[in-house]
Assembly symmetry: C2
Homo-oligomer: 209 residues x 2
Amino acid sequence: MKQESHLEATPGTVRPGGRTAKVRAAVLEATREALATEGFHALNMDRIAAAAEVGRTTVYRRWASPTGLIADLLRDMADRSVPASDTGTLEGDLRENATLVVTTLTDPRMGPVFRAVIAAAACDDECADALRGFYGTRLRTWATAVDRAAARGEAPPGTDPVEVVRAVSAPLYYRFAVSHEPLTTADAERAVAAALAATRAGVFAPGSD
Amino acid sequence: MKQESHLEATPGTVRPGGRTAKVRAAVLEATREALATEGFHALNMDRIAAAAEVGRTTVYRRWASPTGLIADLLRDMADRSVPASDTGTLEGDLRENATLVVTTLTDPRMGPVFRAVIAAAACDDECADALRGFYGTRLRTWATAVDRAAARGEAPPGTDPVEVVRAVSAPLYYRFAVSHEPLTTADAERAVAAALAATRAGVFAPGSD
């Protein structure tokens, strides 16, 4: 019984399809919807419980706070991370990644969710840890494309694959979350070209020069 | 008289050293201090007025809201932007810029202020506009170093100087504000090397290839 209650208190560790998983799915979907439409500041546990049709005490007991909801949403998003593209070339794979970032951040529904989780992470340590975990998963997932490219000789030996992927994402997120400049497919192309040039010059292969 | 009241309502347009300027300086310093120690969420107009030793009605009348205070702080920071370095080489100037970014973001006092303004910009349009203005000023200021380098032949003709400076800042801000990863001088060096490689490859000179 102790084990059971431990599992209940740790969302994501129970079997999919069970009641706990259904409650979590409904609450996280309501959280995502609230972040998309109202932003981080308006996030309210009672309204999330009502929208998810879950008891308030369950929501408070399991997630404790609005930032607890956001942190768990980020853990769920990390778990659902899709595999990296495999187009056959490094440039093709990096372009798919950059396009995915731009498409997501400019999506009328997902853009506000990312804005909200970035704001939450700036205000709350649990959210910052969860966001670090989300991007860690995402960077490692796409790093496999760079590893494949290095094996084909498209990147210098010793290239740090995560640095290559981070170099693609960084200028796009800088516009989105820091300088609040428009984000277009031209920015995606430029990010890919810059990351490729730096990769080929050995910038991400420490000690290669 | 209409003109006078317009000037009073637009901080920064009055002569330095006047009473309006002194009130603004005290209120913005109290705002910066509150953001450094308590973050964006705890920002409270009454406490700012008390800390600045300025009447509450003055603070409410001039800045209207906590986000109004942050937006005006950002306009003030943009106005105080210091000139770019001039070391004689593009690499030297970009390194000075990257070091300044890392030093600022990892500073125990300024780091939390930047975290707070980035969070505020994610939640509030006026803050987003002000943050865009701040980084616009900062990027244009450092772009002069790239223009000088291009005139010396250190960058291909037609290089967009703002893109070069943005390429240096982006991976540093990505770690700070998005992925919440540690930020070190090694990251500054890598950002400079990557921006230089992309510049030399003509990535930031559209139509040059």
